[in-house]
Symmetry: C2
Amino acid sequence: MREDYQLQLESINSDLVLMTELVGKAMAKATDSLLTDDLQLAEQVITGDELINSINSSIEERSLQMVALQAPVATDLRILMSAIRMGSSLERMGDLASHIAKQVRLRYPNPSVPEELRETFRQMGAAATKIVDETGRVIATRDADLAEKIKVYDDELDRLHRELFSVVLADDWTESVEAAIDVTLLSRFYERFGDHAVTVARRVVHIVTGEPYTK
Amino acid sequence: MREDYQLQLESINSDLVLMTELVGKAMAKATDSLLTDDLQLAEQVITGDELINSINSSIEERSLQMVALQAPVATDLRILMSAIRMGSSLERMGDLASHIAKQVRLRYPNPSVPEELRETFRQMGAAATKIVDETGRVIATRDADLAEKIKVYDDELDRLHRELFSVVLADDWTESVEAAIDVTLLSRFYERFGDHAVTVARRVVHIVTGEPYTK
């Protein structure tokens, strides 16, 4: 029974890692579609989000079944509770990648990002892909030190988000108000993506140390 | 034992209703602070969000403890799973009210909303407050018909969100790009607030009918 329980726990953990991989790929593709105005790639991201959602549902279901059937002790209960929460955050990260792809679809065949901001979004995409990769490693290894380190990428995303604001609000901004709003919302999706990754990493620390989870 | 279980379930449900009340008050206050540039009111919303977060944590904890201790059957498991999810959505709605208040604080003592859009935000605030009130009634009564009806307010929020876009993007928009971005983000908070309320109501329908929850 106990051995079986451990196997089930490991399978949930593997699925969380799988979610980070799928979300990472979705984010990389979404950014690519944004920078190359590639409708087909954007559609792939939007369609692919369903798989991410269904893995999340499965994690939720299995975690609760385990809680119900095994009456776990405090630590295991904390692990299962965290798994549900982490799945939920990762699903939301998938949604954000999908939001970016939907913006590409909305503006297609027009470009979604003005030339002068392409480099900023390229960097955002790189930091977002990196942070979710590292989040996967944190889940796989339960390495609390690594969890601390991923904040670097979140800081990078925050910095790029602020940088974009200053470009959009500068006197020499020659694009339309619509373009300003578009890129601000897009940039916010990347910034929120980073926040969710940090939340997931904190959940892992919570499991390892038992420290209360603070938002 | 069984009686005790029912009492605990009712207590969780009451706390969800309490959350809708607190979130509703937070949203009403946040909108007031936005329309009157009232920093003190904004601070109240921001501080008050902690209570909403702590009720959510308590719901999560108690639901999982019940799952662990009582090994509930399918229906009860669905109810407890839904309670966790609903608490999470309501907490997020509290965050959105808090985001609005933080925007007021950021721009204070300057007004956060240009004169010509105040009426739009007044209507958004009214629809948002209304939708969360009704969501509370849906949770309290488990009335699936009422759950359907609250979509009216979500549609109203979507309509106002689109209306705001057309104002901001019109040729006669005389305010700054910064103001355009500010009001777009604010409007998005109201729109997301409505989406989360609909999600909560759908969860209730899911409990009542057992129909699969679709996002």
